[in-house]
C-alpha cells in the first residue's frame, strides 16, 4: 500500500508532455551507446492512416519540406513517404544525429496534429540495434529492434518482429530491452498487454 502511494507521487509520467517523454530516450540512448548495448538509431517513422480530406496530409511532401528544411535551426533530416501492405502510410526520417532525428519526428507529429491530422497518427517508431549483453561476453547477439511511441499512452514500448506475419515477435528480447531502457529513465508502458505490434515496418 505504501509502495502504491509513493508510486503515485513519484509517477514518472505525471505532468510530462510528449516532448518530455520522447526526450527521455535521448538521454538513455547516449548512456546505452556508451555501454555498447544499443547502436545505429538513424531511422524513425511516423505511421498514420491516410486521409484525402485532410489538406495537410494530401500535400505532405510540400508541407514536410517546409517543416523540416526551412527556418532557423531546421534539422535537415531526410525523409520519404512510403505505403505499407496494410494501407497505412509512413513518413520515414533518417538522420545521423539522434537528437535531430528525435526532434524531427516530434516536429512532424506536431505539424500533422496541429493541422487536423492528429487522429490519423497511429504512433512513432524508432529503429535500433540492441546487443543483448546477458551472461557477460558469451552470448552477445545483436538484434534489430523498434521502439514504438504512442501518444495515447504517453509511453514507449519495444517491438521485435521475427517475421511479417501478425503475432511473430520476440517477447523475451522485447521485455529485456524494455527493462534496460526503463533502467535508464525511458518511460516504458508498464502494461504488457498494451504492447501492440506493427508488422511490416518498411525500414
Amino acid at each position: 500500500m505504501i509502495n502504491k502511494i509513493l508510486h503515485i507521487f513519484k509517477s514518472p509520467r505525471k505532468n510530462l508532455n510528449d516532448w518530455d517523454v520522447l526526450f527521455t530516450l535521448d538521454k538513455a540512448c547516449r548512456e546505452l551507446y556508451d555501454r555498447g548495448e544499443i547502436s545505429a538509431a538513424r531511422k524513425a517513422g511516423v505511421i498514420f492512416h491516410p486521409d484525402d480530406k485532410n489538406l495537410y496530409l494530401s500535400n505532405l511532401q510540400k508541407e514536410l519540406n517546409a517543416a523540416l528544411y526551412t527556418g532557423e535551426g531546421s534539422t535537415k533530416t531526410s525523409f520519404s513517404i512510403l505505403d505499407d501492405s496494410h494501407s497505412t502510410k509512413w513518413i520515414v526520417l533518417e538522420d545521423g544525429k539522434f537528437y535531430d532525428l528525435l526532434s524531427s519526428v516530434f516536429t512532424v507529429g506536431n505539424a500533422i496534429n496541429s493541422n487536423g491530422g492528429g487522429e490519423n497518427i497511429i504512433g512513432l517508431v524508432f529503429e535500433f540495434f540492441f546487443t543483448d549483453k546477458r551472461n557477460s561476453q558469451e552470448n552477445t547477439e545483436t538484434t534489430k529492434v523498434y521502439l514504438i511511441y504512442r501518444y495515447d499512452l504517453k509511453a514507449f514500448y519495444p517491438f521485435v518482429p521475427t517475421g511479417d506475419t501478425k503475432g511473430e515477435r520476440n517477447r523475451i528480447i522485447e521485455n529485456r530491452l524494455g527493462s534496460a531502457l526503463k533502467n535508464y529513465g525511458v518511460i516504458i508502458e508498464p502494461r504488457l498487454e498494451k504492447w501492440l505490434g506493427l508488422w511490416g515496418i518498411p525500414f
Binding site: T88, Y151, R191, L196, G197
Partner: protein
C-alpha cells in the same frame, strides 16, 4: 566442472533493513500479546508446549514429508548426471554442502528447497520446469533454491510461523470456550472478558499473518539476490521467472493499426493505472518486481 567464481553483489541494505524490521515487529507484536495474555490470566504454557512439539516434529521431518507428499524421487550422479552436476557445481562454488536432489513427475513448472539446515536439505524440481527452461535458466532457478538453503529460510519461517500457529490455536480455543463455556466461567470478568481476549487474538493473528507473509516475500527477494551471487547470472533467473509465470504471454499478437482508438492525442493518459500494486496476502513478491530487481543487479558488480 563449473569454474565460475562466486559473484559478490553489493548487499541490498534496504532489503536487509526491511527484513529485520519485519522480524522486530513480529517480536514486538508477540511480546505485547504474551504480556496481554498473562495479564488476562490465560494459561498458555500448555498450548506453547503442544504447538512446539508439533512444529519441532514438522521441522525435523519436513524434507521427508514433502518428498513423500509430492512423489519426488531422489536422483544421484548415475541416474541423472546432468542435473546432479548442476547442483553439485553450484553448491561447490558457494562452499555449501551438497543437498539431496529430487525430481517430481509433473507438468507444472515448479522448484523448491526444503530441509531444516544446509546439511539436511533437498532441492526438488519438476519435469515441467526442466522442459520449459534452457540449461542456464534451470541453473539460475537451482541457484535460487540453493540460496533458500544457504539463507536458512526454512528455519526463519518455521520460527515466524510458530508464533502465528500458537495464535491460531488460541483463537480456536477461545472460540470453543465462548461457545460452550469453560474458562470464561472461572474468570472474574465473565464472558465479556474472554470476548475481548478472543478479539485481540484475532487481530494479533491477522497482523501476525501479514508480517509473516511480508517476511516470506522479503526472503524471496533475498533468495533472488543470493541466487544471483551463486550463479553470477541474474539475467537467467529473470528470464526463467518470466517464462514460468507466463507474464510474457500478456504481450499481445494484435496489430496496433487495428486499434482505432490508439491514434488520438486526446485520450487520457493512463499514467496511474495498474502500477506498483502489491498484494499484502501474497507469499511471493510480484514477478515483475523480482525481474526488475534482478536486472538491476547486472549493473551492481
Amino acid at each position: 566442472m563449473d569454474s565460475n567464481p562466486v559473484t559478490k553483489f553489493h548487499k541490498d541494505k534496504s532489503l536487509i533493513l526491511r527484513m529485520y524490521f519485519t522480524i522486530f515487529m513480529l517480536g514486538v507484536l508477540y511480546g505485547i500479546f504474551s504480556l496481554f495474555l498473562l495479564a488476562s490470566g490465560v494459561p498458555i504454557t500448555f498450548i506453547v508446549l503442544i504447538v512446539g512439539v508439533m512444529m519441532l516434529f514438522q521441522y525435523y521431518t519436513s524434507d521427508k514429508l514433502v518428498l513423500k507428499s509430492t512423489g519426488a524421487k531422489i536422483i544421484n550422479e548415475n541416474s541423472d548426471p546432468a542435473l546432479f552436476n548442476i547442483v553439485r557445481n553450484l553448491a561447490n562454488n558457494y562452499s555449501m554442502p551438497m543437498p539431496k536432489v529430487a525430481v517430481i513427475e509433473s507438468n507444472v513448472p515448479n522448484a523448491f528447497a526444503t530441509g531444516r539446515n544446509p546439511d539436511n536439505s533437498v532441492v526438488a524440481i519438476t519435469t515441467g520446469i526442466r522442459e520449459r527452461l534452457t540449461e542456464l535458466e534451470l541453473r539460475a532457478v537451482i541457484g535460487h533454491e540453493l540460496a533458500h538453503v544457504a539463507n536458512q529460510d526454512m528455519k526463519v519461517l518455521a520460527i515466524a510461523n510458530f508464533l502465528t500457529t500458537i495464535t491460531s490455536f488460541l483463537m480456536t480455543m477461545f472460540f470453543w470456550n465462548m461457545m460452550f463455556g469453560g474458562m470464561g466461567r472461572n474468570r472474574n470478568n465473565g464472558s465479556s472478558g474472554i470476548m475481548i481476549v478472543y478479539l485481540v487474538t484475532i487481530i494479533v493473528y491477522f497482523i501476525g499473518q501479514l508480517l509473516v507473509l511480508s517476511l516470506t516475500r522479503h526472503r524471496e527477494y533475498g533468495a533472488d539476490h543470493t541466487g544471483a551471487e551463486i550463479t553470477g547470472d541474474p539475467e537467467s533467473l529473470a528470464s526463467a521467472l518470466e517464462k514460468i509465470s507466463g507474464s510474457l504471454a500478456r504481450i499481445p499478437d494484435q496489430d496496433l493499426r487495428k486499434l482505432q482508438t490508439a491514434n488520438a492525442f486526446l485520450i487520457i493518459p493512463s499514467a496511474l493505472k495498474g502500477e506498483g500494486s502489491m498484494n499484502l496476502f501474497s507469499t511471493h513478491p510480484p514477478v515483475e518486481e523480482r525481474v526488475k530487481r534482478l536486472r538491476n543487479l547486472k549493473h551492481r558488480f
